[in-house]
Structures are given as C-alpha cells and as structure tokens.
C-alpha cells in the first residue's frame, strides 16, 4: 500500500520528465539526424515564440485568470512593427518600443475590464481578441505589409525593415559551433528565467499565487488583489508583443495570415506545464518544458516522415494526457489526504 502510493507520487512528480527523456532517446535512435546540436537548436527555435507567449499566459493563470488575447496581441505587434518601419519609415527601436507599449496597454485594458468592470476573464479577453484581429487590418485595408507595396493614398511604401530589426529574428550567435543559437531562443530562455524568478522567488509572485488560490483570503491579508491582477495581464500583453516582434523580425514582412496557431499552441504549453514535476498549478519552468516537449515531439515525428497535418492532433493528444496527469492523478493524491 505504502509502496503503491510512493509509486504514484513518483509518477506524478517525474512522470512527465521521464516521458520527455524517453521521447528524446527514442527519436535519437530511430530518427536519423535528430540527435545533434543543430537539431536541438531547431527545436528551441520552433517553440521560442509560442514559449514566450505561454510564459505570459502563465502569469494570468497564476492569478486564476486567462488571457485569450495573446495571439492577437502578437499578430498586432507583427503588423504594427511592419507599419511603423515600412509605411511610417521609423527606426527599429521606435517600432519595438511602440509594440511593447501597445502590449502593455492592451494588458491594462484587459485587466481593467476584468477587475473594474467585472467582465469574466474569458469573455473580456475574447472580446479583446476579436477587436485586435479586426483592428490590425484597418490601417492597411486588410493587406500584408512589405516594402514597395502600394499605399491606399497612392504611391508606394518606401520604408524597409532595418537590419537591426531583422537581427532580432535572424541573427545566430556562435556557440561552440558557428552561427548556432538564434536571438529568439536566447530571449525565450532569458524571459523564462526572469518569469520563473518573479513567480517563485519574489514576494510579488508569492502574492499572485495566493490570489489565484484564495482571492478573498489574500485581500484580507492586505494584498493589492486588483493591482496584481492587472499586472498579470500587462505582463501577458508585453510578452505577447515581444513574441509578435520576433515573428515580424523572422518573417521580414507584416503578414496578415501568420500567427494563426499562436494562441492555441501557447495555451497548450502552459497547461502541459501543470503536469511537470507534479506542480498541478501554472509555473514558468513547466510552461517552458511544455513548449519544448511539443517541439521535440513534432520535430521527431517530422523527421520520421509524419505528415504535417497530423501535428495538431499530436499536440491535442499530449495536452489531454498532461491534463489527466495533473488532475486525475494528483487529485487522487489530494483526496486521500482528508
């Protein structure tokens, strides 16, 4: 009996990481070319942007909220940076700052809708998502932005994506091998560490978890519940805009059609993260592992010639398994505690 419960405990805590290790081993043996630094970096690169968005949504999950607008904030940032550089002919830093400010502002509006207007989080951010999807198309009359495009007022767009901006998405740092690690991967890892520190080591993070667990008790303990909730949505908005900037820098054009999958993929990564180390709650490390898990699985399957249209199915399956891990298994653990 004791042994049995230890086993369950072990499975809850390390099951997901073991599964990850097993996957890596399996693909290394059966998918030629999977094992190797270039392939590993490719995995990281493929999940960097969704991972960054997922870290933001993790913060809103921590305060027991949810942000459905991240995908559209990212695509808005993508279009906005292109618009600033190509049509308004602004330098890269202006475009980047404007996008970050936009992300923070959208987060602020989300937060105010939720805490002041008392709109339920899912509905408020769903509304914001729609609004942004529409808004980002208005300035260009629904077209993608690229250098030389015809302007609505006549004439052609003269601006270009500056080299400094493209560097953000395309530059690769030397790391043992020449031109190995792309900038987005570094930003992803950096943001992951920062948000992990914020959530786990600072008193602000601790209070945010307290708010997510028992809002009323936290308020009675003197926590600024409304402030922290708004802050969580602002973090989410800013990280989403960072994701959008990196996407723009990688594509080199303001493409209206890109970024369709960002919302679902990043939410999935954050939810898969619940299962990592048996946390059963949103956490930055789990979110990063969740994103990488999906990346590895897709990379491996692609190398073993799985067709692209099976990808969403695989992601969905991983998510469902992770949720069972989180809720069924650890629910049993908690239930026996009474």
């Amino acid at each position: 009996m004791q042994k049995n419960s230890n086993l369950i405990h072990f499975a809850i805590r390390y099951g997901f990481l073991l599964l990850l290790a097993g996957l890596v081993l399996y693909f290394s043996i059966f998918a030629p070319g999977f094992a190797g630094p270039r392939s590993a970096v490719f995995v990281f690169q493929s999940v960097a942007i969704t991972g960054i968005l997922a870290l933001g949504v993790t913060c809103t999950l921590v305060v027991d909220g949810f942000d459905l607008s991240i995908g559209s904030v990212a695509t808005s940032a993508l279009m906005m940076s292109a618009y600033f550089m190509v049509i308004l002919e602004q330098p890269a830093w202006v475009a980047v700052l404007a996008c970050l400010a936009m992300g923070a502002f959208v987060g602020l509006v989300n937060g105010l809708l939720i805490v002041k207007m008392r709109v339920p989080d899912l509905l408020a951010t769903l509304g914001m998502m729609f609004l942004l999807i529409g808004l980002q198309r208005i300035p260009t009359e629904g077209r993608s932005i690229s250098t030389g495009m015809a302007l609505p007022g006549g004439g052609n767009a003269e601006g270009t994506f500056s080299a400094a901006f493209l560097w953000l998405g395309r530059h690769r740092f030397d790391f043992f091998l020449e031109k190995l690690i792309p900038v987005p991967v570094i930003i992803f890892v950096l943001l992951g560490v920062l948000i992990w520190i914020f959530l786990h080591l600072t008193r602000h993070g601790r209070l945010m978890y307290a708010i997510g667990s028992n809002e009323r008790a936290s308020e009675l303990a003197g926590a600024n519940v409304q402030g922290y909730k708004i802050a969580a949505y602002m973090i989410s908005g800013v990280t989403a805009s960072i994701g959008g900037i990196l996407l723009a820098a990688r594509l080199g054009r303001g493409d209206v059609a890109s970024g369709n999958n960002l919302l679902l993929d990043s939410v999935a990564a954050a939810l898969i993260g619940f299962a990592v180390l048996g946390a059963a709650k949103p956490n930055a490390f789990g979110t990063a592992v969740g994103a990488i898990f999906v990346g590895i699985l897709l990379q491996g399957l692609t190398m073993m010639n799985a067709p692209y249209y099976t990808q969403d199915f695989v992601k969905g399956a991983v998510l469902v398994v992770a949720l069972v891990f989180t809720f069924a298994l650890s629910g049993r653990k908690r239930g026996s505690g009474h």
């Binding site: 600072t202 602000h204 028992n214 009474h338």
Partner: protein
C-alpha cells in the same frame, strides 16, 4: 393531539473525527411551527441537510408518517414531501426567468412534451399565485423583484408539491419587518392546512410571532424542547448557548492607555449609535446573536465596510481604512471568521500561509528570504503548539484546529496596535481553543485586542470585558468578574428592549 408527521430518532452524523450530530431525537407535529435554534456549529444545518437528502445519516432513523424515510438526494426528499427553502434565496430562484417559469420550474423538469406552451404555463402559475396570495404579475422577471417576493416565490413553488414537511432556513434574515409579516401570514395559512414546519431562526420577534414549539441545539445535541405556553424564550436561548461556567479563571487586568475610540458609530443610517474604547493590555469580547451586527462591526474595523456615521480614532489619529491593506499599515490586524473562505490559501504550505500578510518583512528588493520565513513560522508553531511534521507541510494536511492556529498565528506573528479576531474558535476543539486563548491573553499587554464570539463560554474564557450587541446596538457591558449570567443572557437575547425603543 396533532399527528407526528416526521420523527427523527437516534440520529448520528460525523465528518471524520468531528461528531456533528449526536443522538438527535426530534418530532415534527402537523400543523405546528417548530423553531430550531442553535449557535454556529451546533449542527442545525447538518440536521437540515440530512432531512433534505444532502447528507446520509451514519445511524438513526427518520420516519415520515411512520414509514421509513431515507432520501438519497434533495430531489428524492422533495418528491417524498420534504421541502426545504434555503437561507440564500438566490439558490431558490432563477432570476433571469419570469415569475411563471420560476413557479413552474419543477414541472419543466418532468413534463413529457418537448415544446412549451407559455400560455398554459402562465395559467397554471397564476392559479398558484392566487392560491398563495402572492399578488404578483406572473410575467414579471424575478430579477425585478425584491428579496421578500423572491422568498415568497421559492416558498410558493415548494407548496406546489403539497409538502408534508416544510423547512425554512433563516427565511427572514434579509427581510424587513413588513416583508417578514407577509411571510408569517403565508406560514399561518400553511400551518392551517396541516403542514409540519421546521423554522430555523434566532430572531426573538420571529419566534414570538410564529413558534408553537422551540427546540434548542448545542454541540450536536438537542439541548432543550420548549412546548408549554407561554414559550420560554429565555430558557431556549440559555439551552442553546449553554451556561456551564468556564473552568478557565480569567483575572481581568488593569487596562492601559486607550488605543481605539469608536465614537457615535451607526452601522446603518438611522441605526443606534455605538461608543466603545479599547485599551492597551485589554481583551474585549464582543458577543451577540447572528445578525446582531458583530460581523458588520468587525468589517468596519478592517476597512471592508464603511459605517453610516461615526468616527474611529486609533492612537489619537483618525482611522478610516479604505481597504485591508491600509488597515494593516495602520497597525490593525484582523483574523476573519470562516477560515476556509477568508483565511486559508489551500495551495500553500504552513510557512507561506503564516507569513502571507508580512512577506515584505521577509524580503529584500522583493526577493523572498525563505529562511527568515521558515524561522518565524517555526517559532510560531512552537508557541501555539501547532501539531505538524514541520513548517513546510501543506496547510491542507492539518486538522481544522491546527489550521485555525496558523490563521491566528499569522496575525500574532508581528506586533500590532489593535488585534481583531472574528470567531477565532470556530470549528476548533477545546484543546486548540485553550491554546489559542492562552496565547492571546499572554501577549495582550502589547496591544488592544477585540474578539468577536457568539459563544458565551468563549467570551468568558478570554475577555477582560464583555460587550453585548443586539440589533446593532450596544446593550450591555460587563467586567469579566462575577458576571451575572442571567443578565448577560437577557441582553444577548434582547430582553432589554427598552434600549432598542430609544
């Protein structure tokens, strides 16, 4: 002699080690209103939940017209003729629907057809409304109606089934006097039709108006049944609160400098004015029945509510906190009642729960110092005798009494000017109660302390001074020395109505 509609015998119910109902015997005669009284945690609501099919009893029998009655769900109890109207009225009505749909909602769940005939629905509903003399337009949406009308609808709907037993859980707690009177008229009519009514309330006026019998509960037992006219209300309250003298002698200490002044405070516009001064080195117990204004006063002290009029001063400075954070900064610590919803952060361990309001004290540049947190927690665990493996145990692994120690310890761990404890002994066994009480008294010299308790024993165990609230008025003040319990009881139950009339 009235026939006994429902008979409960030898009923027992325990949740884990906590025996909530012990050997309950209860009879509900037809055509009579039986009032059930009991303090918080006496087991009233559990008894109601057993009767209406939410909980199953561990042992004991319930019979309905001499047939065994074992409801396995509220629906089942309902179908067998036991109907309950719960305290929270909004559980009983669907506010977005109109009156007719609300009255007929039970028909909707069991009707055979697929399509609804609104006209037929309204016709039926109008019949019920007339029979009940509701005087409402059945097409009005329930959201446009007041609390009293909603209550009437919930009861009228219950009556559609011609119940044998009607249970009303504190139905007047949110009604005005005129609204209550409408409810009582309805109850009078139901009584005349022979329904057995179980009516849960503390309000003296309600009970005098409506009760045929009073049953008092205390600590999960029936503490007294009062059937002779005139009904012995005092006796029922005494039985409910218990008058066993405390065996913890309290020697009142000399109060120090005044800390908190409450001046001419009224909780509601036009309500009675309260004046009270809390001193350093003094523990004041504020006691009174449910609805006496205890919780309201506690909320005002912690910035959760605003008084209608009146002034608070703390250490000479005006004190009007806008929220708990301001109250804490001003040096007021507040341990709320009902720890599960207002205190415990279930996902945290003991350390994080205990240090939650004071994380700032344990962090530098916002980075938490886990070592300091744990050391502070360890010392509090030791002082209060929290039974646990260590300070990193999850709060959920502790028993209720130990969780409560952590909640009180949270606010004792840092010095403060005024400590307010709302029902600190709620759901706590006698041992934990003594431990907490002892520590509060030991450390009382550093601050002023106000404790809100419904149980008179607890007040006697902990206070230097006992203050009685009734209907939001301060009706009694006693130094905790040779208190005449009869007077105290009378004030709690509101016999000194002369004050209210003023």
């Amino acid at each position: 002699m009235n026939t006994i509609v429902c008979k409960v015998s030898g009923l027992e119910k325990a949740f884990g080690p906590n025996r909530v109902l012990r050997n309950i015997d209860l009879e509900l005669p037809s055509g009579q209103v039986t009032v059930l009284m009991g303090a918080n945690g006496a087991g009233k609501s559990t008894l109601v939940k057993v009767l209406c099919g939410v909980h199953e009893p561990d042992t004991g029998q319930i019979t309905l017209f001499d047939q065994p009655f074992t409801p396995h769900s509220p629906r089942d109890a309902f179908a067998k003729g036991v109907v309950t109207v719960h305290q929270s009225i909004n559980d009983g009505v669907a506010p977005d629907l109109d009156v007719a749909s609300n009255l007929m909602i039970d028909r909707l769940t069991e009707s055979r057809g697929f399509f609804l005939s609104d006209r037929a629905l309204r016709r039926e509903a109008r019949k019920i409304a007339e029979a009940m003399q509701l005087g409402l337009d059945v097409r009005a949406p329930v959201s446009s109606l007041g609390v009293a009308d909603r209550q009437m609808i919930a009861i009228a709907r219950a009556m559609v089934r011609e119940p044998k037993v009607l249970i009303l859980d504190e139905p007047t707690s949110s009604l005005s006097a005129a609204e209550s009177e409408r409810l009582f008229t309805l109850i009078d009519r139901l009584r005349a039709t022979g329904v057995a009514i179980l009516y849960i309330s503390h309000r003296r006026s309600d009970i005098q108006r409506i009760a045929d019998r009073i049953v008092s509960m205390r600590d999960g037992r029936i503490a007294g049944v009062f059937e002779e006219t005139p009904l012995d209300y005092e006796g029922a309250v005494t039985a409910m609160l218990g008058h066993a003298m405390t065996d913890v002698p309290v020697r009142p200490t000399a109060p120090g400098a005044p800390v908190l002044h409450i001046e001419n405070l009224s909780m509601q516009p036009g309500g009675p004015a309260i004046n009270l001064t809390a001193h350093k080195n003094e523990v004041i117990a504020v006691t009174g029945l449910l609805g006496s204004g205890k919780s309201r006063l506690a909320s005002i002290l912690f910035g959760l509510e605003k008084p209608a009029i009146g002034r608070l001063t703390l250490n000479g400075a005006p004190y009007a906190p806008a929220n708990p954070a301001e109250a804490i900064r001003a040096g007021v610590h507040f341990s709320p009642k009902d720890r599960a919803s207002n205190g415990v952060v279930p996902e945290f361990d003991i350390t994080n729960n205990l240090t939650l309001p004071f994380l700032k004290n344990f962090s530098r540049l916002s980075m938490l110092g886990r070592g300091g947190q744990r050391a502070a927690t360890r010392s509090m665990i030791e002082t209060l005798g929290v039974v646990c493996q260590g300070e990193t145990d999850g709060i959920g692994t502790l028993s209720g009494g130990n969780q409560q120690k952590v909640m009180v310890g949270r606010w004792l761990s840092q010095p403060c000017a005024l400590l307010v404890l709302d029902e600190p002994f709620q759901g706590v066994d006698i041992k934990a109660r003594r431990d907490i009480g002892e520590h509060i008294r030991q450390t009382a010299g550093q601050r002023a302390t106000i404790v809100f308790v419904a149980e008179i024993d607890e007040a006697l165990e902990i206070a230097d001074r006992i203050v009685v609230l009734n209907e939001q008025a301060l009706v009694g003040e006693h130094k905790n020395e040779n208190i005449e319990l009869a007077t105290l009881m009378a004030q709690i139950s509101g016999r000194s109505e002369a004050i209210l009339g003023a």
